[in-house]
Subunit: 456 residues, 2 copies
C-alpha cells in the first residue's frame, strides 16, 4: 500500500505549530472581544446558489464543489453528459460548495437572521476557507481567514476603533514595527476627477496601487498606454509623491480638491477618523495616510486599510475598509453599510516566526515529565504527578518502565522543559531531583518546593 | 431573489452559542493540556484513497466527495457516463472527500510523520467532521468531534489517566451527576467462551449491549433466535445482572473466568487500571464496571469507556477505548496500540443547556456600553471608553447619535449587563451614571470607581 499523502495545497498543523496558531488566534480574539465584537461560525458548506456570482467569474472557477449524495447522475440530461460539458453537468450534480471567504457567509447570516440581530452588529469570525487555486509558496487551498466587521452604522467611530484594534493586535503580538496605511475611496475618486479618468477609474486605481512596487515611471507608462494624458499625470504624481505628516498630506489634498466634492468628502472622512483617535486617547503612531492605496477598489466605498510589517519581506498582513450594501447580493433592499478588517494569519505567523517573536511558553507542551527507575518509583511518581496536576501544572509521566535516557529523550522531543527524577533514593527521602533540561541545572527538592518553583 | 438558506443538516453558530461552545472547547482543551496532550489539526479535505474503506460500506456511502477542479469530465469513460453509473463516475471525477471522523486523519498523520513523532504520542483534536447522513433531531451533517488519544504504549496508566481526564472534564463543566462505565473487550470474550459463542461473538456483544435499554427478556429472545442455548444464557445473565461495587463485580468475574484465559486478562487489566487510580490519589467515584458494555466492538481491543449524564434524557456523551494497529489500514507494519476518548460536544452542550450550567459570564458580550446624549457627551464617552479598555474591560460605545432608549435596547439585545450614561451634567462633574441593566440599580461614580467596580 502506498504511503498516504495530503491533498495538494493543504497542511497538517502539528503540536508546535498548533500551539503557536492558538496563541495567534487567542491574542486576536481577545482584542476583538475587548472591542465588543462577538464570535460567529458558519458551516464549511454553503449552497452554491449562495456562493456563485459573488466572487466574479474567476472566483466561481475556484469554488470547491461537493458532489450530491446518492445516485447523483440519475436525472442528468444525457446530452450534457455525452458532450462531457463539465460546467453544465456541475450545476446538476453539485448543489453545495465549500466556503470561499468569510464575508459572503456573514452577509448570508445577516440576511437570514436580520430580525434577531442588534444593529450595529459587530462580529468576528476565524475559520478556514477553501480555494481551488494553484498552490504555490505561501498560497494554500485551505487557509484561515480572520475577520472582524461592524455593520449597520455609517459612524466613522467604527473606522477609528478598527485602527485601534489593529494597533492593539500588533502590539500584543510584539510586532511593533508596522505601518497601518489608510486611504479613502473618495480620495481616489477625487484623483480620478483631476486626471479626467471618466470611465477609466478602475484602470487608474489598479495602476497607482502599484506605485510602491514598480515606481512612478512604470505606472506612468501604463497609464499613458491606457490613454491618460501626460500633463494630467504630472498633477497626479505631484499629489501621489507627497511626503510628510498625515496632516500635511490631508492639507495638500484639501487644497487640490477645491473643485472636487467627492475628493473633499474623502479628506473630511479621513480627518474625522483621525480626530476620533484623539478622543480615544490614541495617537497616529504607525498610522500613515497613503494616497495611492487602493486595494479591492470595486468593493470598498469609504476608508481603506492595509498593514505592512516593516523590515520583513512580506506583502500586506492585514487589510480592510468600508463597504456599502453588504446584503444587496442577497436581494435585501436595506442598505447595510459596514467596515471590516481581515488579518492574514499565515503571513502574520511567518512574520512572528521570522522575527522570533512567539513566546517561548507557546512552544512547550507539558511543563514537567516525571521519570522513574522501577515499579516502585513509577508508583511513587503517579502520586507526584497527581500533586502537580492538582496545582494546575501541565505534567505527565512516562507510562512505561523504560531506560532513563529514553524518558529524557521523550521530554526533549516534546520540548518539555523540566524532568523530575525519582529513584529508590528519592522514594525513601521524599527529596526529588528536579532537572532543567535546557540549563542542565539539577537540585533536590520536596514536591511542595517543586510545585512552587514551577507555578508561573 | 429568494432568501438564502443553509444546506440541510448544517448550522450557523451565532454569538451566544459560540461563546458557550468556546467555553466548552476551552474547558476540555485545558484539561487535555494539563494531562500532556497536544493539539493537532488536519485539513478538511483528505484524498478519497485515505478515507475510503475505513468506515465500512455504509460509511463510504456517507462520505462527502469534492468534485475535481477544471474540466473534470474530459477523460471520463463515455460508456460510464452514458450508463449514468454514479458510483463508477464518482471515482473518476472526485479525488478528495471531507473528513468523516478524526481517527483516520490522525492515523494518516502518524504514518506520514512517524519519524518526527515522540512516542508515546498524545494528541487532541477538536474539529468538525462531515457525514452525508439523513439529518434529524440531534444529527447533523456537519458536527464537531473532540478526541484525545495516546498511541505507542500498552501501559494501562494511560487508561487510568483517561478516566481521570474524563472525571475532570465533567467536574469542571459542573456536570457532577454522571457515570463513567468501563469494561474490557477480553471480559466480553470471556463471556463468549462461557456461552460457547464460537463464531457468533459479534451477535452476542451487539445483543447484550442493549440490555440496559430493552431488558433481559428481549435480549434473551434475540440471542435464542441467533442460536444460543437457553441454558448457557442463564449463566450469562447471572453475570450480566450482577450488582454491587466494582470490586464485587470483578471478583465474581474472576470466579467465573477460572477456565477462561482471555476473561482473566480482561479482569486483571480492569483491576490494574483501577489500581492506578489509587496511585494517582483518585477514587472510583463515578466509575462503574459495566459488564454488558460493548460499544464499537470491532474496533476496541482492550478497555472500553462510555459516559452517561444521569437524570437527563440523552444517550452517551463520551466514549472510547483501547485499540490495536492504529496505522495498519495504511500498510504500516508497526503495531501501534493506543487508547482514546471522544467527547460528544453537541450532546454535552445540550446537557449543560438543559441543566442551566453554562456560566452566566459566558453568555455576555461586552461588560459595559457607553451611552451619550449629544456630540459633546459622545466625545467625552470616547475618552471613557478608552480608559475602560485600558483597564482590560470589554466595552463599547454606541457609535451613532441616537435616542437613549435605542442605545439601551442595543445593550439589552446584546446582553451587555451595564451601561454608563453620559450627559451634559456628567461631562461637567465627571461623576458618571453606572446602571446595572438587570437590577435597575444606578449610581454616580467616577470613571476610576467604575473601573474598580467592573474589574473581575
Amino acid at each position: 500500500m502506498e504511503k498516504p499523502t495530503l491533498p495538494k495545497g493543504t497542511r497538517d498543523f502539528g503540536p508546535l505549530v498548533m500551539a503557536r496558531r492558538q496563541y495567534l488566534f487567542n491574542t486576536i480574539g481577545q482584542v476583538f472581544h475587548k472591542f465588543g465584537f462577538l464570535p460567529l461560525q458558519t458551516p464549511a458548506m454553503e449552497n452554491l446558489s449562495t456562493l456563485t456570482g459573488k466572487y466574479g467569474e474567476e472566483g466561481d472557477q475556484l469554488l470547491f464543489k461537493i458532489l450530491n449524495s446518492g445516485d447523483y447522475l440519475k436525472d442528468v440530461d444525457l446530452s450534457k453528459l455525452e458532450a462531457r460539458n463539465s460546467r453544465l453537468v456541475a450545476s446538476e450534480i453539485a448543489e453545495k460548495g465549500l466556503r470561499y471567504d468569510l464575508t459572503v457567509p456573514f452577509a448570508r447570516y445577516v440576511v437570514m437572521n436580520r430580525h434577531e440581530i442588534a444593529l450595529p452588529f459587530k462580529r468576528y469570525q476565524i475559520q478556514p476557507v477553501w480555494r481551488a487555486d494553484r498552490p504555490q509558496k505561501g498560497r494554500y487551498r485551505e487557509f484561515y481567514q480572520c475577520d472582524a466587521d461592524v455593520v449597520g452604522t455609517d459612524s466613522l467611530i467604527c473606522e477609528a476603533e478598527i485602527v485601534l484594534m489593529i494597533k492593539e493586535v500588533f502590539q500584543k503580538l510584539r510586532l511593533n514595527d508596522f505601518t497601518l496605511k489608510i486611504n479613502h475611496r473618495s480620495v481616489l475618486d477625487g484623483l480620478a476627477e483631476i486626471v479626467n479618468a471618466g470611465g477609466k477609474e478602475a484602470d487608474l486605481y489598479v495602476a497607482i496601487d502599484k506605485l510602491d512596487k514598480i515606481g512612478e515611471e512604470k505606472v506612468r507608462e501604463g497609464l499613458i498606454q491606457k490613454g491618460f494624458e501626460s500633463k494630467s499625470l504630472d498633477a497626479l504624481f505631484e499629489i501621489l509623491n507627497t511626503k510628510g505628516s498625515n496632516e500635511q498630506k490631508l492639507n495638500l489634498l484639501s487644497n487640490k480638491f477645491q473643485q472636487s466634492e467627492v475628493g473633499k468628502k474623502g479628506v473630511s472622512d479621513l480627518k474625522e477618523t483621525l480626530g476620533y483617535l484623539k478622543f480615544l486617547n490614541a495617537n497616529e503612531q504607525h498610522v500613515e495616510v497613503d494616497i495611492p492605496l487602493a486595494r479591492g477598489l470595486s468593493y470598498y466605498t469609504g476608508c481603506i486599510f492595509e498593514v505592512k510589517v516593516n523590515n520583513v519581506q512580506m506583502g500586506s498582513v492585514s487589510g480592510g475598509g468600508r463597504y456599502d450594501n453588504l446584503t444587496q447580493a442577497f436581494g435585501s433592499k436595506e442598505k447595510l453599510s459596514g467596515v471590516g478588517i481581515s488579518f492574514g494569519i499565515d503571513r502574520i505567523y511567518d512574520c512572528l516566526d521570522e522575527l522570533n517573536l512567539f513566546p517561548k511558553e507557546t512552544a512547550t507542551s507539558s511543563k514537567v515529565l516525571v521519570c522513574h527507575f522501577d515499579e516502585a518509583s513509577l508508583q511513587y511518581g503517579l502520586n507526584t504527578l497527581s500533586q502537580l496536576r492538582s496545582a494546575g501544572i501541565a505534567s505527565e509521566i512516562y507510562p512505561d518502565l523504560a531506560k532513563f535516557k529514553k524518558q529524557v529523550e521523550y521530554a526533549d522531543k516534546k520540548k518539555i522543559p523540566f524532568v523530575i527524577i525519582i529513584g529508590p533514593e528519592e522514594v525513601a527521602s521524599g527529596q526529588l531531583s528536579l532537572k532543567n533540561l535546557e540549563s542542565g541545572e539539577q537540585s533536590k527538592q520536596t514536591i511542595q518546593q517543586i510545585i512552587q518553583a514551577l507555578t508561573p
